[in-house]
Structure formats: structure tokens, C-alpha cells
Symmetry: C2
Subunit: 569 residues, 2 copies
Amino acid sequence: MTPSLVANGGVAACEAVAAPVTGRVAAVYSEVQSSRIDHALPLPSVLTKPFKVVDGPASSAAGNPDEIAKLFPNVFGQPSALLVPSDSDSALPQQKLKIGVVLSGGQAPGGHNVISGIFDYLQDRAKGSTLYGFRGGPAGIMKNKYVELNSEYIYPYRNQGGFDMICSGRDKIETPEQFKQAEETAVKLDLDGLVVIGGDDSNTNACLLAENFRGKNLKTRVIGCPKTIDGDLKCKEVPTSFGFDTACKIYAEMIGNVMIDARSTGKYYHFVRLMGRAASHITLECALQTHPNITIIGEEVAAKKQTLKNVTDYIVNIILKRADLGYNYGVILIPEGLIDFIPEVVQNLIAELNEILAHDVVDEGGLWKNKLTSQSLQLFDFLPEAIQEQLMLERDPHGNVQVAKIETEKMLIQMVETDLEKRRQEGSYNGQFKGQSHFFGYEGRCGLPTNFDSTYCYALGYGAGALLHSGKTGVISSVGNLAAPVEEWTVGGTALTSLMDVERRHGKFKPVIKKAMVELEGAPFKKFASLRNDWAINNRYISPGPIQFHGPASNALSHTLLLELGVQA
Amino acid sequence: MTPSLVANGGVAACEAVAAPVTGRVAAVYSEVQSSRIDHALPLPSVLTKPFKVVDGPASSAAGNPDEIAKLFPNVFGQPSALLVPSDSDSALPQQKLKIGVVLSGGQAPGGHNVISGIFDYLQDRAKGSTLYGFRGGPAGIMKNKYVELNSEYIYPYRNQGGFDMICSGRDKIETPEQFKQAEETAVKLDLDGLVVIGGDDSNTNACLLAENFRGKNLKTRVIGCPKTIDGDLKCKEVPTSFGFDTACKIYAEMIGNVMIDARSTGKYYHFVRLMGRAASHITLECALQTHPNITIIGEEVAAKKQTLKNVTDYIVNIILKRADLGYNYGVILIPEGLIDFIPEVVQNLIAELNEILAHDVVDEGGLWKNKLTSQSLQLFDFLPEAIQEQLMLERDPHGNVQVAKIETEKMLIQMVETDLEKRRQEGSYNGQFKGQSHFFGYEGRCGLPTNFDSTYCYALGYGAGALLHSGKTGVISSVGNLAAPVEEWTVGGTALTSLMDVERRHGKFKPVIKKAMVELEGAPFKKFASLRNDWAINNRYISPGPIQFHGPASNALSHTLLLELGVQA
């Protein structure tokens, strides 16, 4: 049942940095893990034959092109690159390449396949090339900590979840000193190229590295790859970030299960908080997959300037309607970052609390509360006691209130409960309410990648190899036409500067790739908005079941992607 | 992607009791759900041909046979029944049957298939028979609330999770008045038989009903079916309860994912609490499937009379050893019912607190604590503040401390953190500790049943039909030889009284089917115990991945079952 597999999976490369090197140990894989290793990955047909790169028109920026041009004098304005079939590969340099790869930020299913894709490209098209895996994220570049990847090393990680092949990290290459360290590594290893696998920040960083290397006349080219389960790094040319598909399907499996539980017992309201702090794409996708009774989308809350009381009222009203119909159960999805979308909380109450906590005495009697503005005081008094205490007691090293620590799902359960109790006493509610809280997060980041994420990542990596080989720098690997069969997927690179705008920080312009938020005018939200009233009252629950690698639904794309591509209505 | 299916799944039968009857609505199923409906279920070959029932020797009881004999004068001592091939079915009565079925207690994946199995038996072998589904558990019997099940009604529930076809309930048929109500229903519906699908309590109840019906000379026979994800209803003839397989695989998928997360980030200790209050089978099975660094088994804690401090020390010692090796991460499994296994908590502290809270004033200054025995005071002071507050504040309607509400995983994180901090100050710990808590429970109770649970349940139900048809009563449907191909599975019935012992309650003997606890001398625990020291220090993580319905591992049995059957070493 659990065949052994001699693999380097036993001790991850990054562990070995701190841990004593115990050598490669025999790791035991589950039957499903083992079967995935040899899962054959189709490639877009353009990558299976000789190709050449065709450049599009010069690019601009997502905003403030003049400022972006100033920040990136060497790489700004680059055309998008598209791979097209060619008679021969003769246009590509006939040389061995030295390439580095790094994983940056939180895990997303499929990262190992990006690396496998780069490796296989080099094996197939630039024999004798070397691939270095920088350990533990960007810090590995700065400290020149790496492992040379070969086929035996990579093999057990193929189609596997996690980032443990070379591990990741959250360091950034920001200061002149850090850029200098990166240069030193590039020179020392004689790198022709570097692939940075990461989210919006990491890809911005990749572009700064590309700019810097070119400015210093180093040969090292830099290619980005779009990674984040949050789904908030995307644009026309990069239809989705990898990991989103797998993570949403794992969460949707769990949500579907608790829906059946809710319907079977008839007595629980399941409040499910879903990972994804900045944008609510995961919550929206899970809603489209499962049809919950209530879904809160942070971007809508922000756009409508809703208060916590508005959100609570919305939930309570649906619960009241359902109670009238005899339904004392339901499922409610909440994005992890909800609190961050509520202006009254973030901009007012939190700021005022931080101020008071820094300068005033917080007396037991509560006189300190007089220092709050009346709106904030009203909000504070509206919060459940446990949350009030959490806000006052748990503070970060700078003494600030920690919004991130608030368990929003539990807070909402308490607020809803209080409200319903009030209505019960007024005689307007006669139902039963029992809230059950859930947080689905970590279990989705490191799952076995779906067939889609496996294939998509492999193409992203293989394409990144092709872009480097073709001399490109400062572009993000872009695989498109995803609703078509894999053979017809397009492969190319998009100028990273074309995704950028500037933000003013500490009096200086900083380049940023803007996070792609849920668009209230976009097809996924509009579809959701057109159906939610029906879902609220009628029980249209769908249970997607566990991710399948064979048979039904094993190659399904996310609803978000299908709707954004216009192939689902 | 999500084909519609006209089904009665839109409004569950039990909802309709309270909800206005909106008729059958079109329910939308996911692709995986749809594909499961028509999944072909193999039957043990003895059920596919003419059979007859062979009786074994007279049975006794698990304990106190004299008392059990007194409590069950009409059904005690019945032989076990085994179905064997026969030349013809002529021994079976050629009559139409009227059978009732009821789901009792918490959901377990596969319940719908037991019902499908009974239904199909009646269709195949006793054409024209009627199957009534009692709604909402035993209350449905007492109130004579039922739905007549036909093939259209049952169809969309085949191989689906949940209990929503007829829903379940936790009522018991206990008082003379309640037994009278059950009799009235049996007479009114002219029932030849009743199948009770439930756990240890419900099967005890099924036997009491069988005894009562026979004592009153009613023709209604009663058959039990072993249901519980907790896996604590089993014996030689009933190798496992249904639902255990699916629930453990769902939890193991999630545990495997957080393991990869732990290894990838290298900075979290994931404390995972797993459903299963009475016994730790789920935790043990998940450990065997995934190889966590630390696993707490409640039965071992109880047997060794461990204190909370012992448990904390055990965890801390492994964390210290791992820190020395450079591992500041890990995965720890904790059974939901841990607290109940710790004698000092349950027998002493809780009892003392209940006493004090009932009779004394709890003063702010803490003078009340002097009323605790010194051992309990020590334990109380050892508990994290949040847990102390929870114990003092949250009480049940009788004013008792609510042990069940304690989030054991969070409590342990706090206790470990405190201990490590102390050691850091003493200079004996230099690592990093970050605990992440998880509770996996509801998401496992209602998942799509695995191939094993689907097939096992179908055989249990089909077999229950055969037992009723053969005139049996007071037996539990027993399907055995489970490690062999399905065709070779054995089918029969085991006298429920043979599983019973008595407990003295309020001065009277009460019959009980003893919960099957984790046996410290049993094969599953011994295997775990022989490996855990290795797992603690080395990272032998296995990630089982999502449940598959086709291909690798799709027909795997649980480790617990394989070890108990002696087919895995």
C-alpha cells in the first residue's frame, strides 16, 4: 500500500542548512503520491517543436508610465514575447546555460513543477546546462546558498505539493547592499539566468533585479513566474496564478462536506473563514463551486463602505428568512481579510486604539473609552467582549493592535448570536441558532497539485526556460488560451513593467504590481451576485468532493478562470 | 462541468417536515457527485445467488451473561447467523415485506448506501415489498413520521455522503411510553422488520426493541447496522463500523497537507485535534497513515494515569530534541477526547470546580481557590489563563463546567509555549516555536464515501434485508473477511446480546454494548508504538492525498482494519 521510494524527500534541502546532513534517506510515499510522480504532463505543442520568439509592440505600464520608465530605464517598454513554431531552433544560442531558480513567499501547489519544467527545458534544448536551486527563498541568493539540481534530485518532487525541494522564504532583495550580494552570487555562479517564482511583490523584485543586472552589464537575465493561491496576481496575458486552482478545490471539498453536514443535522450554521488576506478571489471561487447560503466578498464590503453592523445585519436577515421557512442551518463563507476591507475598523477604530494605547492609561472603569470618537465607540461597544479584549491585549512588537489575529468567523458568530437573541426577545425570531466556526487555510497551500496546476506549472517553467534561452529578461512567464486543450496553450513572456504602477512611500515612488482584486463588474462576481439571493433561501448546495486525478472533473478549470475567459456564462 | 440532475436532493425529507413542502426540486450535483451515483457496487457472491442461513452455536454475552439473559429473556442466547449458498431461495417466505429503516445519531459516510442495499434486496428478492424511511431518527418511529422510499427517491443518494435522505436524530426509545409509541407505529404500518443504523447506544436500543416486539408477540423483527466514524463499535464478527474509513482518509489528507506545509516553511508546529470523543481510533489510524512527529492516544494516557503535565512534558521533550537537530517544526495529533482520559482533570478538578461553583462565592481575589485540594490547585494554576476562564465561565444548563468546550489543541499550545519559554530562560532551549491549531471534525462526517465504505455499507444493508427476510431479529448485520475480494466477503448476523455487558445506573442494571477502545496490546497500537520514536525525530511524513475513486489507492483499506485482520504486519 505504501511503497517505499528512495528519494531525497526525507530531508528537504532547506532543512539540511540547519540540520546535520544525514544524507539522502528513504522517504516513504503514499500510493497516490507515488502514482503522481510518473503522471505524464502534456506540453503546449509550441514547446514540443522548434520555436522562435516573436515580439509584440512596445509596452507601457499599468499606471504612471513616466515614473515606471524612470525607475526601469533598462527594461521599460519591452515588447511582449510570444513563442511560435519555427523550422529550426537555430536562432537559439548553442551554449550550455547556468540558471538559478528561487521560490519566494508562501507555498502554492505546483511550485515543484515549475522547477521541473525549467530543468526539463534545459535537458531537452540546452544539454549540459546547470540548474541551481537557491535555498530558502531570496535569502539563498543573497547568501549564495544553493543546491545543484539533477534529475535524481528532482524526480521525487514531480507533481508533488509543497515547496520543500528548495524551500521558500519571505526575505526581499531591497537595499543596495542586498542587490550587491545578489550580483556577487550571479557573478560567482556565472549565471545566465534566474527564475523567480513568487507573488506580486516577488515579481516586482524580479524586475528590479533584471533592471539592476542589465544596468550593471551582467549577463544574468531574470524571469518571473506567477505564484499565489490567493489568485490576485493576474492580468490579460497571465490568466491565473498557480496554486489557486488546487487550494480552492481543497477548500471547496471541505465546504461541500460541511454543507451536507448542515443539511443532514439541520441545526448548525457553519461559518467558514477562508485563506486570502488581500483579495477575496478564493472565497468567490469557493462560492461558485459550492453555492453557500451567504458569502461575504471583501471588495464589495469596501466598495459599499459597509460597517460591521451592515455585514451582521445582512447575515441576520437571511437567517431570519430561513428560519421562517423552517431552515435553522446554513453555510456562510467569509474571506480571511474581511476586517481589512471595513473602513470604520481599519481607518478609525484601530488607529484610535493604537493612539490611546500608546499615550494613555487604559483604566478598568472604561473612562479611556471617552477618548474614542463616537462612531468608534459605537463600533467598539458593538464588538463581542472577547474581541474587545483581544484588541486591547494582543499587540504586535510595536504595540499595535493585531487585526490579523482576530478570528473573524468567531466574531461574526457572536455578533449574530447577540442580534438574534435581541430579536427573539422582541418576538421577531423564533428559530434555533448554533454557530460552528471553521478556518480553512494551511491545508490548502500544500496539497497535491491538481492536473491543471501540475500541467500549468510545468508549462510555466518550461516556457521560462525558453524565454531565458531566447535572451529575455524582466518578463513574466505567460501561458494562455487555457480553456483550449493543452496542446493549443500559448506560451510567452509579458514585460513585468507593463503590470506596474507606482505607490508613494516615504516620499519616494515605489514600483508595485497592483494586486488583482475581485472586480465587482467582472464576470465571476456578476454571476455570483445574480445567484446569491436564490442560494440564500433555497439550498442549492454542491459538494465538489475530493480532487480526482483520473476520471470525472479531473481536468476541470476553476469557475473564475472559465468566466474570465468568457467560456462559461 | 456541473450537470443538473432532477433529484429530490434539493429538499431533504427531514427538512420537509418543518419546511413548507416545495416538492421535488432540481438539485445540481458536482461532476464527482454525479459520477458516483452510477458507480457499480459489487456484492459478496453469497448475496448474488440463492442462499440459506446457517446458525452457529448459542451465544452468550460480553459480560454478566446472567444479567443480560434476564434483561433479554426472548432474544438472549441466539446463535450467530451465516449466509451460505443454497440450491434455491425456497426456504425464504414468498411474501411481500414491509420494512422500516432509521438513521440514529451522528452522520457517517455510507449511511445512504445501507438504505440502498436494503431497498435493492427487497427489489431483488421480495418484489412488491415496501421500505419506509423514518424521518429524523428514532423520533420518526415514535411519531410515525416516515417517507415511503422508491427507486426514484433513492437514486440521487446512491454513494453520496450525509444522512439527508431521511435525516437522523439523537432521541432514544427508552421509557415505557416511548416503547408503546414504537409498537403503535410497528402495528400501524404492519412492519415485518426494522433496520436501525447507529452506534453502540442505538444498537443496544435496537436489541431492546427486538426484545420488546418479540415479548409482545409482534411480528416486527429488528436488525442493527454498525455506524460510527469513531470506529469504536466493532468485534470479531463486525470488523469495523462504517464511516471510519472515509472520515480517517479525509482527515489524513488534511494532515498530510499540513505536514508538507510544516516541512516547507520549517517554522510551525501544527497541533491537530481530531474528532472522536470516546476512543482514539481516528487519531491512531491517521497517525498510521501519515507518520506525525507526536501522537497522543487517550487510552494510553488513561492507562498510564498521565497528568496534563506529563503530556506537556512528553511534547516538550520531543520539541527540544528536534530543535537540537535544527527542526523547529512538526505535526502533533491530539484526540478530541483527550481531557476525558486524564483522571486528574475529570475526576478531581472538574468535580471540585462544579462543587465550588454550586455552593460558594468565587471572589476576584482568588480566595476561593483555597477550597481546591492541593493537587487540583496545582493543576488549575498550571492551566493557561484562557482555559481557566473558560472553565469558570462557560457552564452547561446544569451549571457544570463544560469540558467538551475546551479547545485542547490551543490549550496544549499555550502550555508548551510557557514551558519552552521557561527553558529558554534557563538556557536549555534555543529554538523557535510557533503553534498552529487545527480541528478536523465536521468536514469528515459527511464526505463522499470511499469505495470501501460505499461497498461495505451496501453489503451491510443488503445483508440486513436478507436477515430480516430469513426471520432473524436482535442481530447486527455482519460482513466479514474484508481483506479478501468483495466476492469473498462473508455475510451474516451476530446476536446483539453477545456484544453486551451491564452497567449499574441508578441502582439498576442497564445493558450496554461496550465501546471498543484502542487496545494497547492490539496490533494497530503496537505498530504505532514501535515506530513513533523514529517518527518523532526523523521526518517520515506521508501525505495520503485526496481520496481517489479510480486508480491508485482507491480500494485501500484502513491500516487499523488491515492490522486487526492480521494481513498487514
